[in-house]
């Protein structure tokens, strides 16, 4: 094995171009487990810890450009206002020690259906900025990023530079089922974001299909129902029958399996419950901010 230690982003891209089989290692919280247990013996390890750019983020007008290696701890503490869904999801990852090392770039690299960043990214709306020495950089819409179980749209010579995540324009929630509050790989998970600006709702489902997915039919149904009932303007409580159908459509978007963490039918059921709850929580919060801003006006 060789240990490659690029000191800059350009050097990292050059190393990846020269050795496309090299395995990047950022926080190491996925990679080292595989090496410790002899599940993986890469020819080259490509250490990204010295690439400072990957640990930085920029808050822009519309979105946050989050460096691939920014640890979950920083997201929880410093980006709560801009990225509430991802901050909540980050807080559910493992333990403080793991959150101090692991980040969204590694979560995307592994692309596990149970990765906690994914539902939050799908719900918020995001693009993954990847780059290669040969072809420069490109933006992959998050909806096209997950291509199969633990597969993603990266080419062998590419590295993830950053994730561009839409800044929250409304309430966001993240919900996860597991046996404990810490150190739990999701049995299933659900992210939801209200986007009052575009009058849309977006979702993300984790651990209930071969890849993280959005519940598109549920989103379309809810968007239409909210529009028809004038809910965005009148701020009324969402009709229970609408919430119920939304939840059922979210369950239907799942394509889960039975495994040690839970059965397929449990996952389908739990996703429906989380969908209804997160919709209720975010909508209550939307109504709250609406009422206070009207009161103030």
């Amino acid at each position: 094995m060789d240990f490659l230690r690029p000191a800059s982003w350009e050097e990292a891209l050059a190393a990846k171009a020269e050795h496309p089989t090299a395995v990047p290692i950022a926080g190491g919280t996925d990679v080292m487990v595989e090496i410790n247990f002899d599940h993986r013996r890469p020819e080259y390890l490509l250490d990204l810890n010295r690439v400072g750019d990957l640990y930085e983020w920029e808050v822009g007008e519309e979105s946050v450009r989050l460096g691939a290696s920014v640890p979950y701890t920083r997201i929880m503490e410093d980006l709560r206002a801009e990225l509430p869904g991802l901050a909540l999801a980050s807080h559910t990852v493992a333990s403080p020690q793991i959150r101090n090392r692991g980040g969204v770039g590694g979560n995307l690299g592994t692309a596990s259906p149970a990765g906690d960043a994914h539902p939050a990214l799908l719900a918020a709306g995001a693009e993954v900025e990847v780059e290669s020495a040969a072809r420069g950089s490109r933006l992959i819409p998050i909806d096209d990023f997950y291509t199969g179980v633990k597969r993603n749209a990266l080419q062998p010579d590419e590295l993830i530079r950053a994730v561009h995540i839409k800044k929250a324009d409304g309430p966001q929630q993240y919900s996860k089922v597991g046996t404990r509050n810490a150190m739990v790989i999701a049995v299933c998970a659900f992210g939801l974001a209200l986007h009052p600006g575009t009058r849309t709702v977006r979702t993300g489902i984790g651990s209930a299909a071969p890849t993280p997915v959005r519940a598109r039919a549920a989103e379309e149904f809810l968007n239409a129902a909210l529009e028809e009932g004038g809910f965005w303007d009148n701020g009324k409580i969402i009709t229970p029958s609408v919430a119920k159908q939304f939840a059922e459509l979210c369950s239907a978007a799942c394509n889960p399996i039975d495994d040690v963490r839970g059965t397929a039918s449990y996952r389908r059921h739990a996703v429906g419950v989380m969908a209804r709850r997160t919709l209720t929580w975010t909508w209550e919060s939307y109504r709250g901010t609406r009422n206070t801003s009207e009161g103030a006006a």
């Binding site: 390890l45 493992a94 333990s95 403080p96 020690q97 793991i98 090392r101």
Partner: protein, 193 residues
Amino acid sequence: MRVNFTVNGRPQEADDVWEGESLLYVLRERLGLPGSKNACEQGECGSCTVRLDGVPVCACLVAAGQAEGREVVTVEGLAEYARQRACGTDACGTKSASLDEAGRRQAQGTDSQTGEGTELSPVQQAFIDAGAVQCGFCTPGLLVAADEMLERNPNPTDADIREALSGNLCRCTGYEKIMDAVRLAAARQSEGV
């Protein structure tokens, strides 16, 4: 490969390190510092918790090469680390005096390295006084994690303590005595004892 880094304030060089080796392995097997425990090697138990440039991490999940040029504090160096931190604030005179003293301690021998012969840190003493140590396997990781929390958050609530220690498993104590120990350390710290 060769890895150079600082452990408990002292420059260290580890030779013939395998590229896939963990920081934990290097500490225990190459540098003779077995305080950080190896229980799971997959980040689940926290018994290998050390500070890497001040940040608590699982040493079993850091590749040795990633520690190059960085500063590691293990449980062996915790007492000295806590002492210097206290000096840095106010508890023991001027800064130059404390630096002199640190230099003398290093020159004397292996105490800051192995922890032998040094007075215990407040959090270590509290674990003993509260009876928070049974088999002791989880203790080093808990001490490093608890000490870091008290550095950041001198007056933690019970929820803060539980959260800060949520990555550390103990199979003996049932955690109540550990909670007592951390509360005790916090109380003593705020009284300046």
